[in-house]
């Protein structure tokens, strides 16, 4: 008999939430979405699958991509498919494909899951949500957008209750690539930046040592010292960076660009103490060409960056001759929610979307009245559930309490005769009697008090 039933169990790395957690996740997602829309970004969704050759155009990630096999029922078409591993490749493909129908600058947000064959660990999943924004120009794109993105990130995290203070680390990739030019090793810039990108994980000392080994006899005099000073300059001011790089004209160009973005962001309302100038931010991908961002929750650096991105000069270079420069960031939504949940910073006790539970006594006599109450509440925009079974009142209230419904309406023969209903706060146990014709208004008032924490 035992094997009559198919065993149900989780698939490692593919998380799912219980109702209270899902409600908390949805709230975070919707807060982010609201801020994205506040800045006029338009929604985009792309299919979960892309052609294999699109996903692998850039290379380097093939080994992490889930392939998707055609169902038996389908003709033997030659298209090979895979699940997307980020939202940038689909965006590049989308822009190249529909450029003629889009208006540039194209401001899009996209909040969807992606899939990667990674080893699941703290903050890493095989299916996880990203919440991306990008502003794409056709041909060119004003640098002021690089400051606007900082402003959006700042507002997004400001909108979230319960999230500890964040720090947005910002740099400009031209500081490091410029430094390589200044020292005559421009050709090594790519590998060097990939090495610097490990600084957060491995520490500056280890990175400097690795770079010494990497360059060997090619290492220009004074290069390592300058680089080390630069990497140690995390959190310093623009003046210090300028001083430190005196005479390194290419690197200083990068500092100047960083200054422009930094000053504009502060003007746009980003608190200066939330911005950290951080020359170690290299972003491993060659793709980025200017400003780069990474964001950390204070006290939780080990979880890694929860919002990263930057400026790039050529979004869709694998797909079209047309140049689409852009700037964007991606909030690691699943990682962020995981961090907050695991550290008890997200309220998950509310397991129902209902604000009110209408309880029932003597259904045969009063069903119509209960349904009428529910209809009135719903048409006033109050989420309402009716407990439609004629069980003991304690049992009904217990159900409402367990799933976190804030208020219950209680009325029987006596109350209806007197034209009233009781409204019980299932958390505080406080009970009020309200006249039926004022019930909706009364309940809205009690819900308002509750959200205001009165």
């Amino acid at each position: 008999m035992a094997d009559k039933y198919i065993k149900v169990q989780a698939i490692s790395g593919f998380g799912e939430y219980l109702p209270g957690e899902q409600i908390a996740f949805d709230k975070m997602r919707s807060l982010i979405e609201q801020v994205y829309r506040r800045y006029g970004f338009s929604p985009l969704e792309t299919p979960a699958v892309e052609r294999w050759e699109i996903l692998t155009a850039k290379g380097g990630i093939e080994r992490q991509i889930y392939s998707v096999g055609k169902p038996e029922s389908m003709d033997s078409s030659q298209i090979e498919l895979g699940l997307r591993f980020d939202l940038t490749v689909p965006l590049a493909r989308f822009v190249a494909q529909y450029a003629g129908a889009l208006t540039f600058p194209f401001r899009r947000y996209q909040i969807q899951p992606v899939w990667r064959g990674e080893r699941p660990q703290q903050g890493r999943f095989r299916q996880f949500y990203q919440a991306d924004i990008d502003i794409i120009g056709s041909g060119d794109l004003d640098p002021i957008y690089e400051a606007e993105i900082l402003c959006v990130i700042n507002d997004a995290f400001d909108s979230m209750e319960g999230v500890p203070e964040i720090k947005i680390h910002v740099s400009n990739r031209k500081i490091l690539t410029g430094l390589c030019v200044d020292f005559g090793i421009a050709a090594r810039a790519g590998e060097l930046l990939r090495e610097v990108d490990k600084a957060q994980r491995d520490g500056n000392r280890a990175v400097i040592a690795a770079i010494g080994e990497m360059l060997g006899q090619d290492e220009p005099t004074g290069f390592r010292e300058t680089l080390e000073q630069l990497l140690d300059a995390v959190g310093s001011g623009l003046e210090e960076l300028t001083e430190l790089l005196e005479g390194r004209t290419q690197a200083l160009d990068g500092v100047e660009e960083l200054r422009e973005v930094y000053e504009a962001a502060v003007k746009l309302g980003v608190p200066a103490n939330r911005l950290v100038l951080d020359p170690t931010i290299a972003r491993g991908l060659d793709y980025y060409t200017g400003t780069v961002y990474e964001t950390f929750v204070q006290g939780y650096d080990k979880w890694g960056s929860i919002c990263s991105g930057g400026r790039y000069d050529d979004l869709a270079g694998y797909f079209t001759t047309q140049r689409y420069p852009g700037v964007g960031v991606s909030i690691g939504l699943t990682r962020l929610v995981d961090l907050l949940m695991k550290n008890g910073m997200l309220e998950t006790g509310r397991k129902s979307t209902a604000d009110v539970l209408v309880t029932m006594q003597d259904r045969d006599r009063f069903l119509d009245r209960y349904l009428e109450i529910a209809r009135g509440l719903r048409s006033a925009g109050v989420n309402t559930e009716v407990f439609p079974e004629d069980r003991r009142l304690m049992k009904q209230l217990g159900y409402g309490g367990r799933i976190g419904i804030p208020l219950a309406v209680i009325a029987g023969g006596d109350e209806f005769e007197r034209g009233v209903a009781k409204v019980k706060n299932l958390e505080t146990r406080e009970e009020r009697e309200i006249r039926l014709e004022e019930l909706t208004e009364g309940i809205r008032g009690m819900l308002r008090e509750k959200t205001q924490g009165v």
Copy 2:
């Protein structure tokens, strides 16, 4: 050179929307979600992939399932995966897996894409959204929920502007299965109902003929005549059905259950003229055991049902001994949106989420002021985009108009000196001058006028 670029093209059956269409889709999704929440349903999301043995537990659909292959990087685990083809199988698995952590009746909604290897055609896609609700009991479930579901469907479609009148066809599967019992052919009920399910597509005559052939010599006297009268009784009243089935006691039990649900639904506020009693609704799946629903947009029957479901007695029978009866429906969201878009019934001209475009003149002098205006609007909840490049005003307004932003703020040296800004309605070309300190209020007023169609 030509093959330096990877060709970008659509994958048949995997649709995606341009910004104006996506905004329209999102609005429909959010209206449905709002109604689901109004009735206290809780959100659920499950991973895109499920174990192959879960997906194929019931059989019959294997040939349409997309398999998912593990990335190269992953160890050779023996788990086989596929993309979900509906939201019911994941729900059944979820309930069996987490029953101990759930409170019953468990009311969940789930709005996610599913994947099927079907031939793409009108209303059929390979990736499409479903918007499901279900109420699951543990052990038993009150039949009144079957009426509540009708009420939710009714409210959901009521909330959508621009959707033509719908008709909800409702029946009870026990009418047909009971009829088989009454005629002593209970064992044939399953195949017979699958045949009746084709009535909408093939017509009653063809179905009756096929059933005659199917039963052959086993056909009881009078069976075909009764069945034919029954199938022809679409849209008739409960009394006619009762009369027609006189003496067929089992079938009449089904009619009585239907009466109960119908009358409760009307009490709950569903307009009687929107409900069609339709004994041809059999729903091919054996899974359903009581009330069944299908919903059609009037004048667009050819698109098929856009919202179907019913009552079932055993949700998770493949996974657990515990009985979970339930009732639910699924709105075919992608199909519905496709129907509305293809027939010009959905507004898709709004390609931006921004309500206001702040234009710019003489950026070097006034940048701060433009950014201040934008900040004020945003913190008042007005979605605002700043056109941050110092281009010709006509060009800026042209951009705003093209992506459907309703209002533009226009101010230069002259306006700032007088402490005012112009606000232009980009559709009507109407222009107002508003004092800067009243700008946010003025703009909110203009936006309200617009939504009220003034």
